[in-house]
């Protein structure tokens, strides 16, 4: 629980630090907020030992056949 509180506080600090300088740029503000939301959500999931999809698995799904072929060919 403390971890989640700490993470939320950290996100709050980030937002407080960044948002005043972004007031003039609406698009930047939107992208920043969305990314911060995503980052905070992911870090809370990680802190609660939840499952986060591994991006390396996605790449592996595409390049697995080529990888095995290359490895066998050059051995």
């Amino acid at each position: 629980m403390w971890m989640v509180a700490g993470l939320l506080a950290a996100a709050g600090v980030c937002a407080a630090y960044e948002i005043p300088s972004l007031k003039a740029y609406k698009k930047d503000l939107w992208v920043f907020s969305l990314l911060l939301l995503l980052g905070t959500a992911l870090s809370i999931v990680a802190a609660l030992q939840g499952h986060i999809p591994n991006p390396l698995d996605w790449i592996a799904a595409i390049f697995k056949p080529a990888g095995y072929w290359m490895q066998n060919y050059f051995k």
Binding site: C14, K27, D28, L35, A46, N54, P55, I59, M70, Q71
Partner: protein
């Protein structure tokens, strides 16, 4: 309008030199020794040759599109939508790069220096330095790297000279036991780790002054960086032997532990680790810079700096998940990484170069016809 940052050609040289050494020096001797055993150093030399070709390709692409980042090149060649798709792939690749190198750095520190510190905390500390660096901007990073260069060179020199008495040349024999195929494969994995990530420096190229000199300097620096890693690989093979090299996770660190002069000058590995700290920091920084700056360019934002904090959080979280265990890491790095880097580091730049060249020619022809 934000101030456009400028770096000199010498700063680019230093960057490329340290970037090529990067995390390569820490991990690659083990991979090379696993493929080519005692011929690992020849494999590394083959890798330097391949790297020369790769860097040559990047320089050609740079010459064709001076003053454009990778995202800009994609858009200029392939138009808005397909270009954006390719840019997103590229951005994803730099994201993967920054996350995995951060994992490597954290893992190295966790195993060797801070075994009781929680893994996330180490990553947060390391990522904080990277995020601060990227927020400060390109000029600051390149000046820092200029300051770091003498230290890296001194540490490298100390490493080589203090280990010279331990060399046992018998470990190198027999030479050429495994033939060209495995040497080629070893060289490819070397070039893939050391040279193909230079494609991320396309985010830096538009800021370079004195482009002509910078291109020659960059080529030279990349080759020199590769030679340093070849030297370390050679030392690993000659001192540790091919079996220990291929089995240890950080062979060059195991190598430094061997330093002992008169039983007095020893246990200096923590000081020597400064070398890897600097080079890994620089590598993570430029992966991260490539990621954040291309994201902001794809979305046409005002300034990439506002993205650094949230992207830093995302980077830390994913650095904890990318490699669930060492077995997966070995599998991914040796099987999935080579075709992936071949696609992103060679095929796509080559495609862009050929397409860009044809497009320019067609434009010239149509102008002549009019």
């Amino acid at each position: 309008m934000p101030k456009i940052e400028k770096i000199s050609n010498r700063q680019l040289m230093v960057l490329v030199f340290l970037y090529t050494i990067g995390s390569t020096i820490l991990i690659i001797p083990s991979g090379l020794a696993a493929i080519a055993k005692q011929d690992a150093w020849i494999g590394a030399l083959v890798g330097v040759v391949m790297g020369g070709v790769t860097v040559g390709l990047y320089i050609l692409l740079w010459r064709l599109f001076p003053g454009r980042t990778f995202v800009g090149i994609c858009e200029a060649v392939l138009g808005k939508w397909i270009g954006a798709l390719l840019s997103i792939m590229f951005m994803f690749y730099s994201f993967i790069g920054s996350v995995t190198v951060l994992f490597y750095a954290g893992n190295f520190f966790k195993i060797n220096f801070l075994p009781h510190t929680p893994f996330p905390l180490i990553n947060i500390l390391f990522a904080a330095v990277v995020v601060i660096g990227v927020r400060m901007g390109l000029e600051t990073i390149s000046r820092t790297s200029e300051l770091m260069l003498p230290w890296v060179l001194i540490l490298l020199a100390v490493l080589v000279f203090t280990l010279a008495p331990e060399i046992n040349t018998e470990n190198m024999l027999p030479v050429f036991e495994f033939g060209w195929k495995s040497l080629f494969w070893a060289g490819f994995s070397f070039a893939g780790t050391a040279y193909m990530p230079i494609v991320f420096l396309f985010a830096v190229f538009p800021s370079v002054l004195n482009v002509e000199k910078a291109q020659i300097g960059m080529y030279f620096a990349a080759i020199m960086g590769g030679i340093c890693v070849v030297l370390i690989t050679l030392l690993c093979i000659m001192i540790l032997g091919p079996n220990i090299t291929s089995r240890s996770m950080f062979p060059s660190y195991a190598l430094v532990k061997k330093i002992s002069i008169g039983n007095f000058f020893q246990r200096v590995e923590v000081i020597m680790a400064g070398l890897w700290f600097v080079t890994t920091f620089l590598k993570t920084t430029f992966y991260f810079y490539g990621w954040v700056s291309s994201l902001s360019e794809i979305l046409k934002l005002n300034n990439y700096r506002s993205l650094t904090l949230p992207c830093g959080i995302i980077m830390i979280v994913f650095s904890l998940v990318v490699y669930p265990d060492v077995v997966y890491m070995q599998y991914w790095d040796s099987t999935i990484f080579p075709p992936y880097i071949l696609t992103m580091g060679i095929f796509i730049p080559l495609l862009l170069w050929i397409a860009g060249l044809t497009k320019k020619k067609l434009n010239l022809d149509s102008k002549k016809n009019e």
